[in-house]
């Protein structure tokens, strides 16, 4: 008999989604009076509650005939997704209520379903469940990217939203097909869909082709070079609070899949996948950093910077051992708080008029000192400056890769990181070294302030005292990789 306890979180999240749906349907009718934010608040509070509950409910063990494994690794990712979802929800609460007042319920429903896919994904140890939960995560995102389409007044923004969504959808659907094809080849050669036994079969030319297809397909999802083209356009077209969520949680989920398939499933064959992965890491860092340099639109700038950041994560994955896996987790945690926070600040600043160019930040130090300080923290963290969590993230990623012998990659990464500093400093300059001119004072709502505040707190606190997080990540990573090294469980 299967024990459902390891699946408590996906089930609870689905329950929350149903509650949100019910509240939307049974709540006050959408009459002349604009609807309140009930659904959004319910989603946010529910996510906070579930995040807290992960510290008390024991979800370890396997469920669904071993297709789902609850362990320290999956728990780490689940918490990360919940935190990202919570911050994304808080950050988007006001914007959704303002821009799409009459369709709030659907927005939160989709967001929760997307998160449900992610928390399921974190523990999926069977390729079928992995693919299904990945699609559960992806499909809502396509809808959410175009969410502002019919409610925004400006024509230009509407077409942008369509473009953003369509690009995300076409690329996503194609990459799913590519991934599936690759997985079909891999499973065909290995004769199993279980991740744990995937690596038991030797690598044949056909499974090597499959491996490359999987890498490419997942590369699309997380936006690594050369599969990155959709990233800046989608960032530019969708609403920023959603982009803030999109830029962190799905990417972390993509990395988790990548780690599941390659580190866990094919860990025995790292000689085959480390070189292409390292090459893509290098390309992502190089192209991301270089193309971010000339961007004037902050959304595109953060799009390219995100591509570069994904490159750093891949450096850790490419280390291919338990320490690399741990530092992947650490980096992703840092990235989630930092990037989400940065985009929320840009959103808050853009609400005061002035668009999304660097000029929209002009004189931010005077108009909104709090936002300016927060932005400085995020930018310094992204740039990897000490006493911000981003420094430790980069540092440990580099240590992991260096220990694994990828010295050249680390050397290149360090040089590219310095290059990245240039555009982060430029944004900082826009916020600190200019006068406000005609721009208004941004007035973020309480929820948005709370989200940004939590991000700042995480970035600074973890920057000053990273010890506990490093230890947690190390435990999770060691747990994960030791599982893959242990003899494969007998098929039932």
């Amino acid at each position: 008999m299967n024990d459902l306890r390891p699946l408590w979180l996906p089930l609870a999240l689905a329950g929350l989604a149903v509650l949100v749906l019910l509240l939307d349907l049974l709540g006050p009718p959408h009459g002349a009076k604009p609807p309140g934010r009930g659904t959004g608040l319910l989603a946010a509070v529910g996510l906070a509650g579930l995040l807290a509950a992960t510290f008390f409910v024991d979800g370890s063990g396997s469920a669904a005939s071993g297709a789902f494994q609850g362990n320290a690794w999956s728990l780490f990712f689940q918490r990360l997704f919940l935190a990202a979802g919570l911050l994304g929800a808080l950050g988007g609460l006001d914007d959704v209520a303002k821009r799409t007042a009459r369709r709030q319920g659907e927005y939160w429903l989709l967001l929760l379903l997307c998160l449900d896919g992610m928390v399921l994904l974190a523990g999926a140890s069977d390729l079928v469940l992995l693919v299904v939960s990945f699609e559960l995560m992806s499909l809502p995102l396509y809808v959410l990217a175009a969410y502002a389409k019919t409610d925004v007044d400006e024509e230009a923004l509407r077409t942008r939203a369509s473009e953003a969504s369509l690009k995300l959808y076409l690329v996503g659907a194609t990459s799913t097909a590519v991934t599936l094809f690759g997985l079909a080849l891999l499973t065909g050669m290995a004769g199993t869909t279980r991740l744990a036994t995937l690596g038991a079969a030797p690598i044949t030319p056909l499974s090597a082709v499959g491996l490359v297809f999987v890498l490419g397909g997942l590369g699309y999802k997380i936006g690594m070079v050369p599969f990155h083209m959709w990233v800046p356009d989608t960032y530019q077209g969708a609403r920023l609070p959603f982009v803030a969520f999109l830029s962190v949680a799905p990417k972390a989920a993509g990395i988790s899949v990548l780690a599941s398939i390659f580190l866990f499933g094919l860990g025995a064959h790292r000689g085959h996948w480390v070189p292409p992965l390292a090459m893509m890491a290098l390309l992502s860092m190089g192209v991301g950093n270089l193309l971010a340099l000339p961007q004037t639109d902050l959304r595109r700038l953060f799009g390219y910077s995100g591509i570069a950041q994904m490159g750093y994560v891949l450096v850790a994955v490419a280390a291919g051992d338990a320490f690399g896996a741990s530092m992947t987790l650490f980096f992703l945690t840092a990235y989630v708080f930092t990037n989400l926070g940065a985009l929320l600040v840009v959103h808050a600043a853009s609400e005061a008029g002035g668009g999304f160019d660097e000029e929209s930040l002009a004189g931010l130090w005077k108009r909104a000192p709090g936002l300016a300080v927060a932005l400085a923290c995020f930018l310094l963290s992204l740039a990897g400056i000490p006493f911000m969590v981003g420094f430790w993230a980069k540092f440990y990623v580099f240590v992991a890769a260096w220990r694994a012998g990828l010295v050249g990659l680390v050397a290149a990464a360090i040089v590219l990181a310095v290059m990245g500093l240039f555009y982060y400093l430029r944004v900082l300059r826009a916020a600190y070294m200019t006068e406000p001119g005609e721009l208004h004072t941004p007035a973020p709502g309480i929820a948005l302030k709370l989200a940004i505040g939590l991000c700042v707190l995480a970035v600074v606190a973890l920057g000053l005292w990273p010890g506990p997080l490093v230890d947690a990540a190390t435990r999770a990573g060691a747990d994960f990789v030791s599982l893959s090294a242990s003899p494969a469980p007998t098929a039932r």
Partner: protein, 512 residues
Amino acid sequence: MNDHLLSLIVAAPALAALVVMFLPDGARQAIRWVSLLGASVSLLGSIQALVTYDSARGGLQRVEDYPIVPSMGVHLRLAQDGWGGPLLLLTGVIIFAGVLASWTVSKRDKEYFVLLLVLVSGVLGVFVSQDLLIFFLFYEVAVLPMYLLIGIWGASHAVPAKGPFQAAWKAFAVGDKQYAAMKLTLMLLVGSAAIMAAIFVLYLQAGATSFDLAHLAATNYDRDTQIIVFPLIWLGFGTLAGVFPFHTWSPDGHASAPTAVSMLHAGVLMKLGAFGVMRVGMVLLPEGTHFWVPVVGAVAAVNILYGALCAMSQTDLKYIVAYSSVSHMGVVMLGAATLTPAGWDGAVFQMVAHGIMTGLFFALVGIVYERAHTRAIAKMGGFATVMPGVAVFFTLACLSSLGLPGTAGFVSEFVVFLAAWRSGHLIWTIAGVLGAFITAIYVLRATRAIFWGPGPSDDFHELSDARRTEWGALIILGTSLVALGVWPRLLLDPIDVGTLTHLARLVPGVVR
């Protein structure tokens, strides 16, 4: 003994910055007094640390250890060695004077003092860190606020576009404060990247268990590693120390920076670079050092001469002082390159002496510029009649700069050149002495042109002498300069203790 004095010294400015951050915008006086309080705690603490350092016992004292990431061997480990006290004192003096000199800053003063104080916490932290990674973290904290400090509060000035690169000069707005800020930050961070790579090698080859400097120093790295890693550290930290040809950020940066920032930057930050080369590069990598030391010394000699020659041809007062810093930092590196006790004593003493002297210089330049609104020497003249006090202190700084006996500058230059001579480096010695000679020419010429020449022109009759807090800054810096000149043993004794400890790694069985 564990009395948390070092944490107090390091944290006081940062805590003051935190308090200032939450003061209301209009509280001008409160902002300044809180900043001064933070600076005084560091200054008094560093005096206490220096005086109570037990030279007879030597070694690391006042060790404090707080685990940051114990599983990876990162500890916030503070301790004071022989060099720590004098360098803390230097920093304390400069920031105290720097806050006084910044009293009249009116533009965005709150943020200004916050950044200034954070920067100083970083500097103080570097001098007492015994953990390589924490050392590096503090180093970055000391470097980065500079970007905003120069970019916001700096001064842009016209640099005439001349020569084959004038198109490029115009395109990049050379002389613009934001150009200077970005150039400085990027150059120093490329240096940081090199240091970072070096730290990886040192950490991983030592077993990846600890960043403790003592642990790393006890590790015997193989010769090839040392030869590859030493230049990374030398050039990485050396960029901040103004090592030729990576000094080019320094004149632009110093010339564009506001007064107190120039004081701090030339006064203590450049010393961080030299300190890093000696404390990390030379002490941890003896074989690499012995291999590269002829180059280090030769480049240092070039620094002295080239810096002095560049200073000769400047017409902007601040550029003169900035290039003279490049020249004087060459003396530090030259002393370090001799690998003798006397040379190292002289190098560290020169860090302090030059720090105070150049701090005084920049404070004076700031006063002159604020009154006269020009830094072009050609326009000035006879200022001594309207600002006698400033003239006296300026002359004092000049005399120390050219190494007059009785000033701190004499002690260090004499000791270093003698050490270079006695260790058989005749060419270095000649270059150094020649540099000191050229220094005499340009500083005396500048002093004469500004203060002692024919009376002030009509534009400058209204200039006033130094005012209240400015006197404070000038007096504390000037007094220190003379005090160290007549009683160098105050600092040389503890410095010597530190030197012998550290040099023993490089030259086994070294004695005075």
